[in-house]
Every structure is written in structure tokens, then in C-alpha cells.
């Protein structure tokens, strides 16, 4: 009886991530244009979301424990947050990527298992964010692009924290403006990036600015 009562005091808040281009949902392997003329086909879009917190204005009101999730456009599913039913919130805060402690702590399971393909093999560290596909502007012979963003060691820590306004006490939809990201990323200049460093940090900052909600 006690347990049922405890359960009754919680509710599920659905957190969904929705990649968009020109205000429309991005579909895997479909094309869209950036800068008017650069044709893009996205074949992979995956990123880690970690350390999810809810805030009421500037005050922390709830944080998820063991908060590590992998978003994958190929099999996008929402994240069910189990929060106390009474909690009032109007902001969400989360990281894109994996914290440095987890990066140095050896083999992990679940979403953090290296079989997920989000771990570098030649140099230790999680790939925080991965976007792959084709761009008509790429200098690669097959017009491919591959952006693998990560790196946990100072001064090139690519982990980014994001805080967004949300509709109070409601399910949360976070949009990722892929069009904006690819326009600022300038694939014509750099179609492949697969190692930590200043470039990975720069692109991670750009990507972090492309997460938005309707309440902003």
C-alpha cells in the first residue's frame, strides 16, 4: 500500500527531441537545402543527453539520477521523466554529451556501452554528438560529411550545458534546428571532423545554440 501511495505521487513528463529544418521534421535519408543551394541528406544524427534537471525560474526543483540518454534519429523515442506530481517547473537544463568523470571510468553499460558506436576507439572518449550524411558542398569525393564532436579534457572539453524555457508542468518538446547548425558548421570548409580539439569545441558551441523550445 505504501508503495502504491508513493507511486501515485509521481507523474511522467515526456521529453522529446525533434530535429527540424525549415520548420519541418527532418526525415532520415530525405533531402533539404541549407543556404538555399546546398543539398543535404542526413544519414545519422545521434547525441547524448545527460544530467537532466528541471528548474522553477533559477531554482533547481528536480534532477534525474543516472541521467544518460542516447538520442538517435533512426529510432527516436521520448524520454519519460518520473517527477514528483507536485513539482512546479518552467525551465529544463541538460548537457549534450558525457561528463569527464564517466569518460575516464572504464567500460559502461546500457546507453553508454561502446557497442552503441558513440565511443572513439583510437583515443579514449565518448562522441557527444554525431551527424553524418551527404552535402553537395562537401569537398569529399563522395560528397560525404561526418561530424563527430567530443573531447573531455581541458582545455578542449566539448560538453555543453543547455537551459531552455518550457511550458510549466507539461510535456517537453525540444527542437534541434539542423538547418541552422549545418549553415554555421560550413561543410564546404570542413566536411570531416573526428577528433577532440578547438574545432570540436567550436562546433559543439554552435550545436548547443540550435536546441530550442517554442517557449523561448
Amino acid at each position: 500500500m505504501h508503495k502504491v501511495a508513493a507511486l501515485a505521487q509521481h507523474k511522467e513528463v515526456m521529453l522529446s527531441f525533434r530535429p527540424v529544418a525549415h520548420g519541418k521534421a527532418v526525415v532520415l535519408n530525405d533531402s533539404f537545402y541549407v543556404k538555399g543551394h546546398e543539398r543535404i541528406v542526413v544519414e545519422t544524427l545521434r547525441f547524448y543527453i545527460s544530467g537532466i534537471r528541471l528548474l522553477q525560474s533559477d531554482s533547481l526543483v528536480w534532477q534525474e539520477s543516472g541521467s544518460y540518454h542516447l538520442y538517435d534519429l533512426e529510432e527516436a523515442k521520448g524520454i519519460a521523466l518520473r517527477v514528483p506530481a507536485s513539482v512546479a517547473y518552467n525551465h529544463i537544463r541538460f548537457y549534450i554529451g558525457i561528463d569527464s568523470l564517466t569518460n575516464v571510468s572504464g567500460a559502461m553499460g546500457g546507453e553508454l556501452d561502446p557497442v552503441k558506436g558513440m565511443y572513439w576507439t583510437w583515443q579514449s572518449g565518448y562522441i557527444n554528438f554525431k551527424a553524418e550524411g551527404r552535402s553537395s558542398a562537401s569537398s569529399h569525393p563522395k560528397k560525404e560529411f561526418q561530424l563527430h564532436l567530443g573531447g573531455y579534457e581541458s582545455p578542449h572539453n566539448a560538453l555543453r550545458q543547455i537551459t531552455l524555457s518550457v511550458e510549466p508542468q507539461s510535456d517537453i518538446e525540444v527542437y534541434f534546428d539542423l538547418q541552422q547548425f549545418l549553415e554555421t558548421a560550413e561543410l564546404a570548409k570542413r566536411s570531416h571532423l573526428m577528433s577532440p580539439g578547438p574545432e570540436a569545441v567550436k562546433l559543439s558551441v554552435m550545436a548547443s545554440r540550435c536546441f530550442k523550445t517554442k517557449q523561448q
Binding site: T102, G106, G109, T121, W122
Partner: protein, 339 residues
């Protein structure tokens, strides 16, 4: 992430935890190991699984190359006679396969320190196109389809379904079990055996000229150093700088242990020296000056030809036959033939 949370809890519970005897033992007088055993407690079933994985060519893309192909027990888990590592379809890498022992004390891995945890080390050779050319997804797929591995994973982790995490942790368990501390040097230190005059002279020379980087009892400080080797014009390998991007790390490579050095020829990160005498000739007369040259090598090391012979006699006392011929570390034929 439940696992990590449990690991941290376990760490608290096991305050004062000493690594148990039969499978992982801290030799007396050695420092505390740096591997986080609390997250991967020594366990005979896991070591056994790791041992089978270590000797299994299924970890490579075309089932040709196992970890043991380049890390043979008979050469203290190095690759005798091969200057550079070998991989699938006769591909050749750019560095010498290092000996594997006493890895619980090693903080970072690879000649350039690219790998930050023993658990993650195996990912590099498994996926490198000039080594095993596979992927963790492919390896785990093969393991899940194997009746032998379903049984071994069940016995080791209580779950027959292989995962990347369990595969890597089992490999760590086997590698952590490779402790070498039964050489003549170790017996001398324990007062069980005495050095002869030549070995004793060599030991004094070692302490004077070598011990600041190859510090006892592990015979390495685990630091990185430029030991004055000229750059190979074809390999153009600048070592640690390629990972850290710091100019001060140019030509710095991991200081390797000297334990079992008689078994682990050829020497240096690119296997350029076949004999120990060549190594000593390098230190005594071949040092190439440079901005990042180790401070210890700035003044010329004066070694007579007698000194070199004595030093080599001492280095031979670091050979651990018990380690090299230990059947518990060898090919697990009792398990592999059932596959």
C-alpha cells in the same frame, strides 16, 4: 548508469578492500594499483572468459588475428622478432606491440597515452584497420551467436547475452591477472636468492643511470619521455604530441617497464633495436639532442664495455620464467576446442 552508481556504492562498502589472493595479488612492497577494482572485482569466471576472448581470432574481422597474435605469452605478451605490429591480411602497423604485465598499476595506455583506462584499451586493436579491423558491434554479434560464449558470459556475469561492457571488463580481468613478480630480482629483494658479482655491479649501474625513469619495483614511472631517438623518416611518429597537441610532448613516448626485457625484443616504440646491446649503445653514445630531450639524458651516460655487459646481466635478472610459462595465462585449449 545504474552500474556506475552501484560501483560507487561498492567502493564505499569496500573501504579497506585488499585485492584477493589467487587471481590478483599485490606483491609485497608494491604501490597500490591504480585500476578501479571496485567497478570490476577480480573474479575467476570473468578472468576465464577474458582469457578465452584474448586467444580468440573471432575478435578480428576475418577471424585471423587474436590479441595473442601480437601479445604472445612466451614473449611476456609482446611480439618477438616483429618490429611493428601485424594485423589482418598481412597489414603492418606503425608501432611495436608492447609487453603486457602488471597493468593494474598503469594509468594510461599506448605508446602515446591515447587510452585512458584498461577497459577501453582493447577497442583500439579490435577496430584498427591494420590490426583486427572489426567493430564492437560485430564482435558482440559473434559472441551472442556462440554457445560457448553464451555459457561463459552466463557464468561470468549472470547473463548469457554478451555486451560491449562485459566483453571489455572480462578482457581487463584477464589482463589484470598478468602479474609478473617472480624474477630473480624479486627473489633477491625478498632475500631468497643473491645476485652474483656481475649482476650486483649491473644493479648499481642501473640505479645510477636508469632508475629515475625505469623506477623499481615496476621498472617504469609510467611517464612519457623523449629518450633521444632520431625520428624515423618514414614513420614520422612524434608520439604523445599527436594526442596532446602540445609541442612540449614532441617525441615523447611511454616509458616501458624493463621487466621481462630479455623476452620482449625488438626494442623501442618502433622496434628499431633488435638487441639490448644496441639499446645500451644508444643511451651511451647515440642520444640525439632536442628541445624535449629528457633532463636525465642531457649529460652523456658514460658506460664502458664492461659496464654494458654488467648492466645486461642485471637486466636478465628481470626475466620471470614462472610468468612466461604459466599455463593459467596460456591458450585455453580445454575451452577453445569445444567451439
Amino acid at each position: 548508469m545504474k552500474k556506475l552508481t552501484l560501483g560507487i556504492v561498492a567502493l564505499g562498502v569496500m573501504a579497506g578492500f585488499t585485492v584477493p589472493g589467487a587471481f590478483f595479488e599485490k606483491p609485497p612492497g608494491w604501490p597500490e594499483p591504480v585500476y578501479a577494482f571496485a567497478r570490476n572485482k577480480p573474479d575467476p569466471e570473468k578472468i576465464r572468459l577474458g582469457r578465452v576472448l584474448f586467444y580468440d581470432p573471432a575478435l578480428s574481422e576475418n577471424n585471423q588475428i587474436s590479441c595473442a597474435s601480437c601479445h604472445s605469452p612466451f614473449s611476456a605478451f609482446a611480439h618477438t622478432d616483429h618490429a611493428l605490429s601485424h594485423g589482418i591480411r598481412d597489414s603492418i602497423g606503425t608501432r611495436n606491440a608492447p609487453a603486457l604485465m602488471n597493468l593494474a598499476w598503469q594509468p594510461v595506455f599506448m605508446w602515446d597515452g591515447a587510452i585512458n583506462n584498461l577497459d577501453m584499451q582493447a577497442l583500439a586493436p579490435i577496430t584498427h584497420r591494420a590490426e583486427m579491423g572489426s567493430s564492437m558491434q560485430s564482435v558482440v554479434g559473434k559472441l551472442r551467436a556462440s554457445l560457448l560464449y553464451r555459457r561463459l558470459f552466463k557464468e561470468a556475469f549472470g547473463d548469457s547475452l554478451a555486451t560491449g561492457e562485459h566483453t571489455l571488463k572480462a578482457l581487463s580481468q584477464f589482463m589484470l591477472s598478468l602479474t609478473s613478480a617472480q624474477s630473480k630480482y624479486d627473489r633477491m629483494k625478498r632475500g631468497e636468492e643473491a645476485f652474483n658479482e656481475q649482476e650486483q655491479k649491473g644493479y648499481s649501474l642501473f640505479q645510477k643511470h636508469c632508475a629515475s625513469c625505469h623506477a623499481e619495483p615496476l621498472f617504469t614511472t609510467h611517464a612519457f619521455a623523449n629518450n633521444g631517438l632520431p625520428v624515423d623518416p618514414l614513420l614520422k611518429d612524434y608520439g604523445r604530441m599527436q594526442i596532446s597537441h602540445q609541442p612540449g610532448d614532441s617525441l615523447r613516448f611511454k616509458i616501458p617497464t624493463l621487466r621481462n626485457i630479455a623476452y620482449t625484443y625488438p626494442y623501442m616504440h618502433d622496434g628499431r633495436f633488435k638487441k639490448l646491446s644496441q639499446v645500451l649503445d644508444h643511451y651511451a653514445g647515440g642520444i640525439r639532442p632536442g628541445a624535449t630531450l629528457a633532463a636525465e639524458l642531457q649529460t652523456k651516460m658514460e658506460l664502458s664495455s664492461n659496464d654494458k655487459v654488467d648492466l645486461i646481466a642485471f637486466l636478465m635478472t628481470l626475466s620471470d620464467q614462472e610468468f612466461v610459462f604459466n599455463k593459467a595465462h596460456g591458450f585455453p585449449k580445454e575451452l577453445m576446442k569445444t567451439q
